[in-house]
């Protein structure tokens, strides 16, 4: 279960949050189904959307990391809506709880999304194209950045965190390789300039290509 105060993940049997020592509510084996039905009258859209299986929407059941069975959820909040509802009714959600995600607000109990490093990975991949060093880790890093969002939107916060860790490592690897490649290019141009003078500055680079 997730701590209602700070959002840190805890084992279901834990009495107090390992992060902030807040006393945790007891989890008397609440079933997600029962909970969903109990919450259903608040939002008429939720049941139909849950019955219709859509590829994007990850059903709340069967996601152990999704804390929808926890009894501390305030009853006046509408039941967590699948993301497919967002285009029709973007910001009709209830009160923003703790740990509000940056956009949409459909995951009401999850802590904020970990940094995806998507933009950084894209920019580093483009930078690495100068020397081809780091392009492969850059592209893999972009895909892992995308997986941070997809795991998070499935309610899998732990999975999103581990994807974010890989994406971050790949970002720094790509950064290092790209900078090393640019340094190498500068060194090669400088050495060819000293060999051939100002004439044919780039010839050695074109020759090897």
């Amino acid at each position: 279960m997730y701590c209602p105060k700070c959002g840190a993940p805890n084992s279901d049997a834990a009495q107090r949050c390992t992060n902030c020592l807040e006393p945790l509510p007891a989890a008397p084996g609440a079933q997600p189904h029962i909970h969903a039905e109990g919450e259903a009258p608040h939002t008429p859209e939720a049941p139909s959307a849950q019955e219709a299986p859509q590829p994007q929407q990850q059903a709340p059941t069967g996601q152990p990391a999704q804390p929808d069975s926890s009894p501390y959820q305030q009853p006046q909040q509408p039941y967590q809506q699948p993301y497919q509802q967002a285009p029709q009714q973007p910001y009709q959600q209830g009160q923003p709880p703790y740990g509000q995600p940056p956009f949409g607000g459909y995951q009401q109990q999850l802590p904020p999304k970990p940094a995806t490093f998507l933009a950084g990975n894209i920019i580093m991949t483009i930078l690495s194209l100068c020397s081809c060093l780091g392009t492969i880790p850059g592209i893999v890093g972009i895909v892992f950045s995308a997986m941070v969002s997809s795991k998070y939107n499935q309610g899998d916060y732990e999975g999103a965190k581990s994807m974010a860790k890989v994406a971050k490592i790949l970002f720094w690897v790509t950064l290092g390789l790209a900078v090393a490649g640019i340094v190498l290019i500068v060194v090669m141009i400088a050495s060819s300039a000293s060999m051939y003078g100002s004439y044919g500055l780039f010839d050695s680079l074109y020759d090897i290509y």
Partner: protein
């Protein structure tokens, strides 16, 4: 407060990445890397071997001009993956800028992605073998 600044920061990063990607795409579209290279491959310069991504920019240029046969000739492995990666990046960038998913996410498994990465490295070894010279960029 934090969520608002997070939103603005995410949007700014998304726009910056979009601008960089757009500039790269326009440049590769206009400029033919087969005539003069866009990038100086350091793997090729230092070792004389083809790296797994060799021919990638030429393949991208050929794809932009809808010459799929030439693109496959330049890089057999990367050419089918480029549109998929482009879609993933586009979907995520739209999410960063617009704040919601206009394009659907492709479900991805980290192990599948890691396996494709490992196969990509294997492809880089194979294309340097004389018996598999057809894998090398033309």
């Amino acid at each position: 407060m934090t969520s608002i600044s997070h939103k603005i920061r995410s949007r700014a990063l998304g726009i910056a990445a979009c601008a960089a990607l757009g500039a790269l795409c326009v440049y590769v579209f206009v400029h033919d890397p087969a005539v003069s290279p866009v990038s100086f491959c350091m793997v090729r310069a230092l070792t004389g071997r083809y790296c797994p991504g060799c021919g990638g920019t030429r393949a991208l240029h050929a794809l932009f001009h809808l010459d799929i046969r030439a693109a496959l000739g330049y890089n057999l492995f990367l050419t089918p993956l480029l549109p998929v990666v482009a879609y993933i990046v586009l979907a995520e960038l739209v999410h960063m800028i617009a704040g919601r998913y206009v394009l659907r996410q492709i479900p991805l498994n980290p192990w599948v992605v890691a396996c494709i990465g490992a196969l990509f490295l294997l492809f880089g070894v194979l294309r340097n073998l004389p018996a598999l010279a057809f894998l090398a960029p033309v």
